[in-house]
């Protein structure tokens, strides 16, 4: 997993509350694998019309925002099912961090599992950031995980909170597999003992 330390990138304003997992990737694309253009299905039914053509009024279909690596959204981003495809589709589009007043519980955890940074800022701060991004298409935001700060296009910095555990894992780029394998000696000792105590499981 790539470490997340500091990201300065184009940000896109998403003027929507309750962007649920079914909006992020509609159910019918459940069988699509990654690495094969999964990002095409991000917010599919909002980005494209029934004929599969881009809706020009949607933010990610407008030129400077297409390259966005940061989303600033309304409340309750990622509510809905536990399906991780809804995280993959955002990440594969190239977005590494989402800033929102709140997130779906499971989605928040799934983002962290996949090396993405969910940033919770007060609703009025999110709204202020979105207004600046709308006024200056292509403007950049800086998200600094080390300093736990978000700096908007106008230079205003906002502090955000994140638990020490996930923060450390993101900074080091350790996913849960990496974290588990740090304990390999204990795991192997456990397994040897287990096999001797439960020989039918050997």
């Amino acid at each position: 997993m790539n470490p997340f330390t500091k990201l300065t990138a184009v940000a896109a304003p998403l003027e929507l509350d309750n962007v649920d997992t079914d909006k992020l990737i509609p159910n019918r694309f459940f069988r699509k694998a990654r690495g094969n253009g999964l990002q095409r299905y991000l917010l599919h039914d909002i980005r494209f019309d029934a004929g599969g053509n881009e809706r020009p009024d949607f933010v990610l279909n407008q030129e400077p925002y297409r390259k966005a690596q940061i989303l600033v959204s309304g409340a309750n981003f990622g509510c809905g099912s536990s399906r991780e495809a809804a995280v993959y589709v955002v990440l594969d589009y190239g977005i590494r961090t989402v800033i929102a007043p709140s997130f779906g519980d499971i989605y928040f955890g799934n983002m962290l599992q996949n090396g993405m940074l969910p940033v919770v800022l007060a609703a009025e701060n999110c709204a202020a950031l979105r207004a600046q991004l709308r006024a200056n298409p292509g403007a950049q935001i800086t998200v600094d995980l080390e300093a736990q700060s978000v700096t908007g296009p106008d230079g205003t910095a906002y502090r955000f909170e994140i638990d020490a555990g996930p923060r450390g894992r993101l900074l080091q780029g350790l996913d849960d597999v990496g974290l588990v394998l740090q304990h390999l000696p204990e795991i192997e000792a456990f397994e040897a003992r287990y096999r001797s105590e439960y020989p039918w499981r050997a």
């Binding site: 459940f30 069988r31 699509k32 694998a33 990654r34 690495g35 536990s82 399906r83 991780e84 495809a85 993959y88 499971i106 799934n110 599992q113 996949n114 996913d175 849960d176 597999v177 974290l179 588990v180 394998l181 304990h183 204990e186 795991i187 456990f190 397994e191 287990y194 439960y198 020989p199 039918w200 499981r201």
Partner: protein
Amino acid sequence: MMAARTLFEKIWQRHVIVSRGADEALLAVDSHFVAEGSFHAFGALAKDGRRVRKPRQVFGSPDHFVPTLGREQGLAGMGDAESRGLIEYLAHNAREYGFDHFGIDDARQGILHVIGPELGISQPGLMITCGDSHTSTHGAVGAFALGIGASQNKQVLATQCLWQKRPKTMRIGVEGALGPCVTAKDVILAIIAKIGVSGAVGHVIEYAGGVLRAMTMEERMTVCNMSIEAGARSGMVAPDDTTFAYLHGRPYAPQGGHWEEALAYWRTLPSDAGAKFDREVTLDASALEPMVTWGTLPEHAIAVTGSVPDPACASSADERAQWDEAIRYIGLAPGTPLAGIEIDRVFIGSCTNGRIEDLRAAAAVLRGGKAAIRAWVSPGSTTVKRQAEAEGLDRVFREAGCEWRAAGCSSCVAMNGDGVGAGERCASTSNRNFEGRQGKGSRTHLMSPAMAAAAALTGRITDVRKLAS
């Protein structure tokens, strides 16, 4: 002296490799199940350049996307290239990493939660994982069986370990004697109706009491299966002689001298007298009647003798809004008696009620009769299908005008195309009656296999007890 411990605590402690903080632990996973829906986990594993660490402890079979027609042709019979690709990808991963795989044309293929116990892979005292929310089914043998997400699925494949927050414990004691035609499905629907769909959030349930002790293994599986529908992390039943007799001689069960060793350990697992649970709930089973859901949540279950409730009688504003919405979707007026509601379709199968005893119960009702509406039966595994055919149950179903399908998840979730049409009402033995669960616009009424068979005969929701007399 050691403090009295619950079944769950014994299994948990047995599997802790290291602890993190007060209530988180790295647990050793004994057996991990994968289906074709695990493709994201395998994709991520390959992308990270990792391999399956303990292939002997991983078991796979396709279930969600397999067709239930034309299966004699195996993969070649699959018209849908995307679904076929997922099934091929699972087979490819089995070859690549060397884990046991019961493929689309294997005699042992089936829904993972049916074949785990059936093959003797699921055993007492084990820690079992699978990327599916109904993994709790395996807890019926006295295991801690946990449904997990895609990242955790990858984590288990890569390490055979899993970080877990320790759940709380809840004991649900079911006492009394079940009345005629009242089944395990009715017991679990009654439990969910009582405690609600979030009644057990954060808990592992141990189902106990005289009714559970008297149940067969397959009945206990039906109960444990729906633990997630009450929000529980998992469900389990203490192993006893019924468990041991069920497992004895199954292909993956301990053999020879190992059997006695395993048995001695398994007998130590049941909760100690005086063990403390975080919560206790009791249910008097003697008052139960056959249950049917009227709405769009499993907790919307009432006796078949009841009527669709009036949202005005809901206990809170939130519940009232939820009932209003459920009633709108399901298309029934408050006060409508459940018995007599017209049904369009019947589905008998799934990991809840797709086992041989379920098929026997449905066939007993259908024998000699004729289905009034379209009804189909999809056994939970190919082994169950063969067994049913050996007993002549397939003939009973066919003669009653039911379709005898191949094994898989089928209409429980309709991912393979076995959908229920928009606006159609289905009497189903599965576990979820959510909006659109059986297909866009489908309306689901959950019930037991005998009740579903009765609905097939009359084309209406029917109290099977009246049919029998």
